[in-house]
Symmetry: C4
């Protein structure tokens, strides 16, 4: 069995496509953003990626059938000025460093074979504290792209992220550059404590502007409200536990 | 040395056999069930599977001879309407995710070579609490099989098992489906705290009905009684430790 | 770089040799025994085994030169009725299960190539308590060998060792049997808390009888005395810490 | 994707060069020393080493562009009697034992191909306590080199370092010797608690004498002062926390 197996449901004709990656990570920002974009653009699934670098596990669908753990690729043909777009999403990243390299290498080889012109990797940038208005931080393969992204509203701050970019979002840029594919990582600021649809929306606002596509954010906004409600409840519970007992209980004399 | 080595004691002629897997797992339900069925049907061992994905270990038999850690395959020819059956059992599963994939891939390749038509994987479904009357949960490779299993008394519940199916019981279905072999996982409800012969019996009751074979459950029932006795004793001990000291000890004045 | 590299200092002519393995393990019994036998029989080193399954480390000799971590093979030609003997010793075993299999497989392949007729693996059998007169437990590849070993004073006890034999001492027998080389594991009883030269002596007493060679045990006995002195001191220290303060300190009035 | 990939920015003509390694390790002594020497000698980068044995990670440069985690090689042509020098530096060593062997093996193969005549590996020797005047300890591939190094002021002490030399600094000597390349490890004494520029300076003082090159130490000395200031502050803070409260606070009556 090969380390990584790509099986194609369909082999779409793609015209200088771009790749958008959104795999699980900090606040699941990249995953939420990419999956929302897939839904809104009605992108079609065309490939499965199976690998012994994923957990040895099947998931069970609602109808009782199973699904081998995988990554999936979707595509949508560009309309007007917007380019053909390919998506890389899934439930897992490779379990080991070597697995991460092998999986990314397989994707990059495929990108070369279909002429992918640019890679956008989406992720979260964990701040360790609640964020009211998440900014979108960037990192790119070339300094020209830094300028282009600044104009699109992406923030660049010297020395951030200090720990670099770990996993597929980093490796796709790193290995892509080695073979001449340019790339951008867009990171939505997030606490890192919760799944963060608001941060995903911030990332998508920037990205859709760049791509020249229009989408609806209602679904993400509704998810963001749910998360907000949940976190408020947790905060209240924590506060009530820390609060001093009420007056009448303290009343003694 | 190959990662996985299959050595054949015998190469039986098999007619569209089904495969039943029962390797160690939650409550050892699958292992108990498969081994009981092997005993009752007097199935014959025909192959050993050795692998560097198993522990580097030999076990010592009662007579002082050693046995390299392995998985084993047994077979029994069908009688009347019941099909030829092949069993996969053993003391260990692969130690790493990659090992799990390699081992399962080897078994699936063999299944293809002898024309296995369906795979049943047996396991336990841990509830984290004691179970009086264990039900048998299912997951399958196709929705037609879901219906077939429901008619055979198998339960399907949306969103369960939530964590999917990990290990050989999951992978055999997942990798099997990729090459067109249909499969069913039968999971007996179990606490997950003890080896659970009662849950194994529940699984076998469903499975033997499906297969049209009749077996005796006396051995499993006797094992179940032993486990029940043991767990009752443990419960009593725990209770007596928690009970307040008896009245006469508290009586002072 | 190959996973395992064997470099030969010399390629001795060997006549149906036996292999004796003594790598690090419980109480270092096997290592002590094999190294003592090498010294006493003035065996010659003829091969180094290097491997990426060992730690990435060099040791520093007393003269300031370095030595890449390895396993080593020695040989001695038989005299009279005693056979040609090859030894496998070293500072490390493979770090991973896969590494253990690869290393052992390399040794077994070499054994086949020179016609090794029998393998003795030496180790300790940890009892978790101090042992006055360590017995030598056995496990073998055939029931004929069990009988032969019993006559030589080796103990066999049903169900022991319950956890089997882990590492090179087990795998050499397990993989050896797959290719038709018979083998015996001799395990000296030991507490498992200390390096145990006394247990090594017990193993060697049995082994040298079987091999028909005579050796001096003075060196091992002197090591055993050192260990005994050390453990007595530790016991005394522990006891004095637990003892109640002496009388005059308690005397108050 | 190969396990290790070397990409050349330039293929310099090298005349019997020596290799100097300074990768991360105890007190980062080797890394600091090698990088300082690269700066002072204005060595040129000529190669990148990428590998799936490094973390799956990109670092972000100050200008917002990314850099795939790697090791790098620099060179400087010798002047007068000093030899051509090649440097091996980087942010990471291989993550696994196998990775360490593979990476070092790749470097050694390259050393053979360009005729490297000697390897100096630089590192720290952790003493677990503060060191006023760090000595430079040595280990070499031959006893002739021990003598040569002693004359150059390197210390050799029987039984040190007791745990051997772990990682690239050890393996380059160990694997180098197998193919006939001689080598020296120079270890600066260091506490092991801090990055230690002073220890790096001690190592470089010895090394530059041997190589017959002259460099400025101002930069390292300034770093050493910064570290010293920092550690003094930490000491003071610790002391003030342990000190009894001052007299006037204790004064009551």
């Amino acid at each position: 069995m090969d380390d990584v197996i790509v099986t194609f449901v369909e082999e779409p004709e793609l015209n200088s496509p771009i790749l958008i990656e959104g795999l699980p990570g900090v606040g699941n920002v990249g995953k939420l953003a990419a999956e929302h974009l897939i839904d809104e653009l009605k992108a079609q699934k065309f490939a499965d990626i199976f690998s012994k670098h994923f957990p040895p596990q099947v998931l069970v669908n609602d109808d009782g059938t199973i699904k081998l753990v995988n990554n999936e690729m979707f595509y949508v043909k560009g309309k007007g000025k917007s380019p053909d777009i390919v998506f890389l999403v899934g439930d897992y990243q490779g379990l080991t460093p070597e697995g991460q390299y092998n999986l990314t290498d397989t994707v990059i080889a495929w990108c070369l074979s279909v002429g992918v012109t640019r890679i956008y990797t989406l992720g979260g940038y964990g701040l360790g504290k609640m964020v009211k208005e998440p900014k979108v931080m960037g990192a790119t393969t070339t300094s020209e792209l830094v300028e282009e992204m600044k104009e699109a509203g992406v923030s660049f701050k010297k020395g951030e992220p200090g720990s670099g970019i770990v996993g597929a979002s980093g490796l796709l840029l790193g290995l892509g550059r080695l073979v001449g594919i340019e790339g951008v990582c867009l990171m939505g600021e997030t606490s890192g404590y919760f799944v963060d649809p608001k941060s995903a929306q911030a990332v998508l606002t920037v990205l859709t502007n760049i791509l020249g596509v229009k989408i609806d954010f209602a679904e993400l906004e509704s998810k963001a409200e749910q998360v907000e409600k949940l976190t408020s409840q947790i905060k209240e519970m924590e506060q009530s536990l820390q609060d001093p007992p009420s007056d009448d209980l303290q009343y003694i004399g």
